[in-house]
């Protein structure tokens, strides 16, 4: 059978070229800019070693954004995990209205993060926002809170929104994991007289471990990269107090025109993501062998 259709290299070539071009060309550009002195219009003015990298580390706003990225990523990944495990276990059971419940839980995934963030920005509005009026009606607060005016309230709310939009994907992975556990195991545990908690600890949790690992790593990558929630609610403000690395990077590159520093930061973030990916691949491989 001689035909281009039976030659795998011909078949993968267009896809490979398109994806490689859009990744490698920009990456090469970033690498070049990051070790050069560059003006705000992008003209290179000579090699300057690691000056751009040093300049990033000397910027106090960078250190703040870095620290906040840890809290942001950790908070959302752990929060989504803690909520998603019981939610997936409930959705895996048979009960009235289960398909409705599934659709509702999945809903935030279907809406663009930008739109979600814009709606929350309005709902969180100090005077006219419905969150304040709702909480007042419930008697939980007696004064309007200016949610987005201070980092101490804005950032936790942003993390809460992040958790809400991360739950659908996480639950999806867990549902896949739960459906792979054979019912026989639960039957056997029941016959042996195991309690619900024992069943959960001794059967569900160990067999879910690979799915937990993969959800954690993939969520870390996604949340680390997540830009619209913070950009569309506070744009990293007030005064950079809700910046995470991606929003800081965007400001550095496109508002402040510090292309050299922004490129250096991009390269460092790329390295970090590559490290995450290696962890993911080794986790996935370990599961394949098991």
């Amino acid at each position: 059978m001689r035909s281009p259709l039976t030659n795998p290299y011909v078949l993968i070539l267009p896809g490979f070229l398109l994806a490689a071009f859009i990744i490698l060309w920009p990456l090469f550009q970033l690498g070049t800019i990051s070790v050069n002195d560059v003006n705000r219009f992008g003209q290179l003015r000579g090699f300057n070693g690691f000056d751009n990298y040093m300049a990033v580390f000397r910027d106090p706003d960078f250190l703040g954004a870095l620290w906040r990225t840890f809290i942001w990523t950790g908070g959302i990944v752990i929060g989504a995990l803690i909520i998603s495990v019981p939610v997936a276990m409930i959705l895996n059971e048979d009960f009235y209205g289960r398909s409705v419940a599934r659709v509702i839980i999945m809903l935030p995934w279907a809406v663009s993060l930008t739109m979600t963030a814009i709606v929350w920005r309005w709902a969180l509005n100090g005077e006219s926002g419905m969150l304040n009026s709702g909480l007042r009606n419930l008697g939980l607060i007696d004064q309007n809170i200016q949610w987005l005016a201070r980092a101490s309230t804005a950032f936790p709310v942003q993390i809460m929104i992040g958790i809400l939009v991360t739950i659908p994907f996480t639950v999806t992975i867990f549902l896949g994991g739960l459906s792979s556990i054979s019912d026989d195991l639960y039957e056997a545990a029941k016959l042996e007289g195991a309690s619900r908690w024992q069943t959960f600890r001794e059967i569900t949790l160990p067999l879910m471990r690979p799915f937990l690992n993969i959800a954690i790593v993939l969520n870390m990558i996604n949340v680390f990269n997540s830009f619209p929630i913070i950009w569309a609610t506070t744009q990293g403000g007030p005064a950079n107090s809700t910046d995470i690395l991606v929003t800081y990077l965007y400001q550095l590159g496109f508002s402040l025109g510090k292309l050299g520093e922004a490129s250096a930061l991009s390269i460092m973030m790329f390295g970090l993501l590559l490290a995450f990916t290696v962890v993911y691949v080794s986790l996935a491989m370990r599961r394949e062998r098991a």
Binding site: M1, S3, L5, P8, Y9, L11, I12, P14, G15, A19, F21, I22, I23, P26, L27, Q29, G42, P86, V87, E93, F95, Y96, A101, V103, I105, M106, L107, W109, A110, S112, T114, M115, T116, I118, V119, W122, A123, E127, M130, G176, G177, F211, I214, L218, I221, N225, F227, P228, Y250, G253, F254, L259, S263, M269, T277, Y280, V281, A284, R287, E288
Partner: protein, 274 residues
């Protein structure tokens, strides 16, 4: 009360805080969208009179039609582009064993992990270099390329479930590989391709950072950028128009997604966790 009914009530009770939190923004969006202009700033839960006109007025006030057209254009073309290169690649990945297959798989994985935001400055230079700044075709190109990893991944996991015997039988019957592919394989793969296409469409429909960076004039804005531009850096925001626009831009896609989400579960379960 039957055991199942009791269980259902308990489960709904446990889920209720999350359900309320998820539905809250949708309620805010819808209620604001039907408030008359003079009532928008008072945080009541239902307007005295529903202003359905907002949906009509919004169209002109937010330049909705133009942005809608741009979004449809970008989402359709980038999906077509991604599928054109992904279908052969996914076919190769599911049907052949070849040297470098593992490397290609790793490459797809890495490109899936990379969000455009990390490369955005390099991408910006690329688009400027190609002379496509402020041109929606630049977005088609970038979205298409960034979707390749996802579409190959999804398609490959579905293609692997289509038995190879059928094509081989067609070969034995004397059909050329091209004919076997067109008559036997593609009809069977069509549902998988459709589902993948819809997810690729939704990805493009919802994307923000690339569009924000590459599109500078209002005529080329896609929906997320158009709506964002009505909110960001303005003293007075016409929230009832913004929410009506958000509602129209969001709900059709959300319904399609919710309906198709179980296929995504299956595709991801077969593909990503493997």
């Amino acid at each position: 009360m039957s055991a199942k009914l009791k269980k259902s009530l308990l489960f709904w009770l446990l889920l209720s805080p999350l359900v309320v939190l998820i539905l809250f923004p949708f309620a805010v969006m819808f209620i604001t969208a039907i408030k008359p202009a003079n009532e928008v700033l008072s945080p009541t839960w239902w307007p005295r009179e529903e202003a359905w006109r907002n949906f009509i007025d919004m169209w002109a006030a937010t330049n909705f039609g133009n942005a809608l057209w741009n979004s449809v254009y970008v989402a359709v073309l980038s999906t077509v582009l991604a599928l054109l290169v992904s279908i052969p690649a996914a076919y190769a990945m599911s049907r052949f064993r070849f040297a470098g297959q593992g490397a290609f798989r790793q490459f797809l994985l890495v490109s899936q992990m990379l969000s455009p935001i990390v490369l955005v400055i390099g991408l910006f230079r690329l688009v400027v270099w190609l002379g496509l700044l402020d041109n929606v075709n630049s977005i088609v190109f970038v979205y298409g390329a960034f979707n390749v990893a996802f579409t190959v991944w999804m398609l490959q996991s579905y293609f692997s479930t289509i038995p190879k015997d059928l094509e081989e039988a067609a070969w034995i019957e004397g059909a050329s590989p091209a004919r076997a592919l067109a008559m036997v394989f593609l009809p069977l793969a069509l549902p998988a391709i459709t589902v993948t296409a819809i997810f690729s469409f939704i990805n493009a429909w919802n994307e923000f950072v690339i569009a924000l960076t590459m599109l500078r004039r209002q005529e080329s804005y896609t929906l997320p950028i158009q709506i964002f531009s009505l909110v960001a850096g303005r003293y007075t925001v016409e929230w009832h128009h913004v929410m009506a626009a958000t509602f129209v831009a969001t709900i059709p896609v959300a319904i399609v997604f919710a309906w198709l989400q179980r296929y995504l579960v299956r595709g991801l379960a077969i593909g990503a966790v493997k």
